[in-house]
Amino acid sequence: MQQLRSGSSMLFQNKIKYLMDSRVWFILLLLVAGILYPAKGFSQSADSPEMESISPNMVPYETERSIGYHILAVPSYLLHWSSRPIGQAVKYAEAKFPHWFKGARGPSGLFPLVEIGGEEDFAAGVLLYHDHLFFKDHRARAEILFGSKVYNEFDLEYWIPVKGIKKSRLIFEAGYGNAPERSYYVNNRNEKRSYASEFGSLEATYRQHMNSWVQMQINVKYRDRTIKTSRYEDDADEQIPSSLLGNSKLITAGTKWTLNYKNGGRRTLSGTQYKVGAGWTQSTQNPDLKFLEYHGAIHHFVPVPILPETRRLGVKLQLHKQENIGSEAIPFYVQNTLGGSRDLRGFPDKRFRGYGVVSMTAEYRYPIWDFMDAVIFTDQGQPFNNYSDIALSNFHSSYGFGFHLLSQRGLSFRSEFAFSKEASRFIISINPNF
């Protein structure tokens, strides 16, 4: 019996020792102290001073916080003080850029740009704009994106209103980009090869709003692109075939028409938008490299029955097709692609290439707040060279969900989580999907 008692006692002592060693007791003490921590008791002395000769009206109330309180509050203190620099930045912005907080933008300024899941996994930069550069209503915009070592891009735009023609614009654009490492999927299989790319472009566009629902534009574009081997040693065994390397200089002339029958304010609630376009491309170096291309898209929104009209289903159907009219094959880097932040979102960027691509997106959008929509979507799509290649079994699928932040003008940015059988990706983009 005695042995049993000593055994129990030792067991108990061991448990205590374990508690002491593991410091579980300390956490327990903190929790108990927190639960039993008196609601007040700090300021009560002001009601009943210890010396009767002192009137309670002479003793002030005070919020006192003990050492115990401060210890228990340390995690919140850490967050508090680490968030203060943000406060300083906001206060500075309030003083210097008050229009940022009023939902309006000034006649000139800059915005930070962050793009996740776009052209590359991550890119950040800045957008500079001026609404009256050199002349009234002459808008200029510069977009600079740095995607670390794999992607850099600079775009410049200058918009000029055409005198005497209402709602018209002449737009001049110039761009430069380099991507030391890009992926090419051989024959659209999951076999990845690498290459480097450097490109520049010049474009002139005339855009005209015919009326409230028809817009047209014609444009001429010059593209100079050089395809090189990837600069990274890791890619030595995964370079694209040397036959795909080289330089091309292409001129494209085209037109696009948009018929917009969409309804709603910053949210499209119902209606349809049609987009069609066609173009002709010719190499300046090789007369045998030339092709026609055309595309069409339908964006349709319909309210979901029973639910309020702000719950709606959006469908996007689109087709892009190139017709080779020369004897030279159309370079892979100007072919139509699928995969990225706007179609087949669960796949890597430019995962599928072909002379043609067909895709369909269905999105259920519903408001979770005045300025925010939740989105559930599925994307389907396939590349093809000839229409006869299109088959239901060849469609690739991705799906996902996300959130759209809306400004007074419409989409401000979207963040989406997309999944496919090959990958999953997180997208942050200022560009709407449709």
Partner: protein
């Protein structure tokens, strides 16, 4: 060495914690005052003028909406207390500046007014006002701001009084100015410090621009012209004499030091000892704000003023977002029902896949009268009311704080409300009547809601007469007309220490009479009687909760020494 530290650290921390708790426990825990009741918090000592606090329009809202919400669960004092409260072993953190009668003593923050010393309708209508601008003479603008509909200017009248002149929005004549004046007077009567505000009709031709007045900022800064002045007053509501209607707020006496903020204390002010989020008058203000749909209550709409006596007065100001007004426009249905960014509803909306429809999404913003805007009683939910952004003292409000706020609101009779609303000078009597009725309905909703959760008896009085202890009190649900007195009964148990002197005594009136002989008290010795009072009735009885009243009996006299309200 490290091993030594590892072994000793927990011990040292334990000692520190225990010491902290032991010393903390040294303060008195008696629920009644041994001596006089504290009626004044001495925060009016002369101090050196504090530095001016910069005013920010957005940061406090961002901070309170995002970072403060994340900090709360990380503060283990708060989250573990919350857990304890849920488990029924701990209470909510009460305000720091309540006396033994569960009241706020007067201070530089708060003055006993209508609830404590009933004000006449005339006094309520006058409010804080001592002087109105002299509209017969010339006004001189000495400062101005050009911001579209929100433009305004500062003037000095011929009596050398200075005023801020603000206008109604172009589309909603009388809306903002009336709301500003009415709410100013209600807050004043509720005990707060507010600037003088009055509606004026002035002759636009009797205004001149003083020397050196500029408009614009930075490179845009330039001297103000009469054209600027005309752009401000053009299109504003006028009366039949062509005089322009405006709200004139008199400059306060003293030096404005910027906002006092709803969280923490002012560092440079040694008088400021109670964290603002734990002040009863700021926690309870939530109920008053809910009555008026005072949605824009935030740091920027407060003002610390260093007065001539050398201490800080704490003003609340800018009531242009009350009643149906939202600045120069009208309130939206969401205002008062949810924060502008409200993760609670966003989460529910997100997981419901669009099936959940918020009440404000369904509510039509019907504007019956442009001068009234969007102000309704039917959609008002007193327990769920929130301003447009989280405010720490409002979030900290306990039932006791809410009861305190509710009794302030319920102290306004129908006649009181009419007298105050008249000062809004509505040109349409139907609009005025609508405001009066809506305020009455919202007031009654507040009473019904909070009195159903807290025993609504208050204003305890006691005396010894004819060898009997007489205690009487007000049933606020009855006195405010929400419940018929005939439906009420009151029950008391009397104890002295642990000894039960009277097991159960009932009364149909809010009073009890007890023979001192029956209480077996020695009249010459100090005794503390503990009276546990329940209100009996079918409704608004505080859900059966008690109020414990501590009566001190000594030298054939009695006094109320303490009150504890069961939450």
């Amino acid at each position: 060495m490290i091993h030594l530290i590892n072994n000793r650290l927990p011990i040292a921390l334990t000692i520190v914690l225990l010491t902290a708790f032991v010393f903390q426990g040294c303060s008195t825990t008696k629920p009644y005052a041994e001596g006089a009741i504290k009626t004044f918090d001495p925060d009016t000592a002369r101090i050196r003028m504090p530095g001016e606090q910069p005013q920010y329009l957005y940061w406090d809202r961002i901070d309170n909406t995002i970072f403060y919400q994340l900090e709360k669960p990380l503060n283990l004092n708060r989250s573990v207390r919350w857990l304890g409260y849920r488990l029924g072993i701990s209470s909510k953190r009460q305000a720091d500046n309540v006396n033994k009668l569960d009241e706020v003593p007067e201070s530089s923050w708060y003055t006993y007014r209508h609830y404590y010393k009933k004000m006449s309708p005339e006094e309520l209508a006058t409010g804080p006002n001592t002087a109105a601008p002299d509209t017969a003479g010339q006004w001189t603008i000495f400062s101005a701001k050009l911001e579209g509909a929100n433009s305004g200017f500062f003037i000095e009248d011929e009596n050398e009084n200075r005023y801020l002149i603000k206008f109604d929005g172009y589309d909603y004549p009388e809306l903002t100015t009336a709301a500003g004046v009415i709410s100013t007077k209600i807050f004043y009567a509720a005990g707060y410090t507010v600037p003088e505000s009055v509606i004026v009709y002035f002759d636009p031709d009797k205004v001149t621009i003083g020397d050196g007045v500029t408009v614009g900022k930075g490179k845009q800064k330039r001297p103000m012209t009469m054209e600027d002045y005309r752009s401000i007053v053009e299109g504003r509501p006028v009366n039949k004499d062509g005089r322009i209607r405006a709200l004139a707020s008199k400059f306060v006496d003293g030096i404005p030091m910027g906002p006092w903020n709803f969280k923490g204390t002012i560092k440079d002010d040694p008088n400021d000892r109670v964290a603002h989020e734990h002040r009863r008058e700021l926690r309870g203000m939530r109920v008053i704000s809910s009555w008026l749909n005072d949605t824009d209550r935030r740091d920027a709409n407060t003002m610390a003023v260093y007065n001539k006596n050398g201490y800080i007065d704490h003003y609340i100001q800018d009531f242009g977002n009350t009643l149906g007004a939202n600045g120069s426009s009208v309130h939206l249905p969401i205002h008062g029902q949810a924060y502008v960014i409200d993760p609670r509803y966003m989460f529910v909306s997100a997981i419901s896949l669009g099936g959940y429809k918020t009440s404000w999404e369904a509510a039509e913003a019907d504007i019956l009268y442009p001068s009234v805007g969007y102000f309704r009683a039917d959609v008002f939910k007193p327990g769920r009311w929130v301003p447009t952004h989280p405010l720490p003292p409002f979030e900290n409000m306990t039932l006791r704080d809410a009861f305190w706020g509710a009794k302030q609101v319920m102290s306004f009779s129908d006649e009181d409300i009419k007298a105050i609303v008249e000062t809004g000078q509505y040109s349409d009597p139907n609009a005025e009547e609508y405001i009066v009725q809506t305020l009455i309905e919202r007031r009654d909703k507040i009473g019904r809601y909070w009195f159903a959760r807290m025993n609504p008896i208050d204003r305890f009085r006691t005396e010894i007469k004819d060898n009997s202890l007489h205690i009487s009190f007000d049933d606020l649900a009855v006195s405010s007309g929400l419940v018929d007195a005939s439906e009420r009964q009151y029950q008391v148990q009397v104890k002295a220490g642990r000894k039960v002197l009277i097991g159960e005594l009932h009364s149909d009136e809010p009073e009890f009479l007890m023979s001192l002989d029956k209480l077996t008290l020695n009249k010459n010795e100090k005794s503390i009687l503990t009276l546990t009072i329940h209100t009996l009735g079918d409704s608004l009885n505080g859900n059966g909760k008690s109020v414990i009243v501590y009566i001190e009996v000594k030298d054939n006299k009695s006094r109320v020494a303490g009150i504890q309200r069961q939450e």
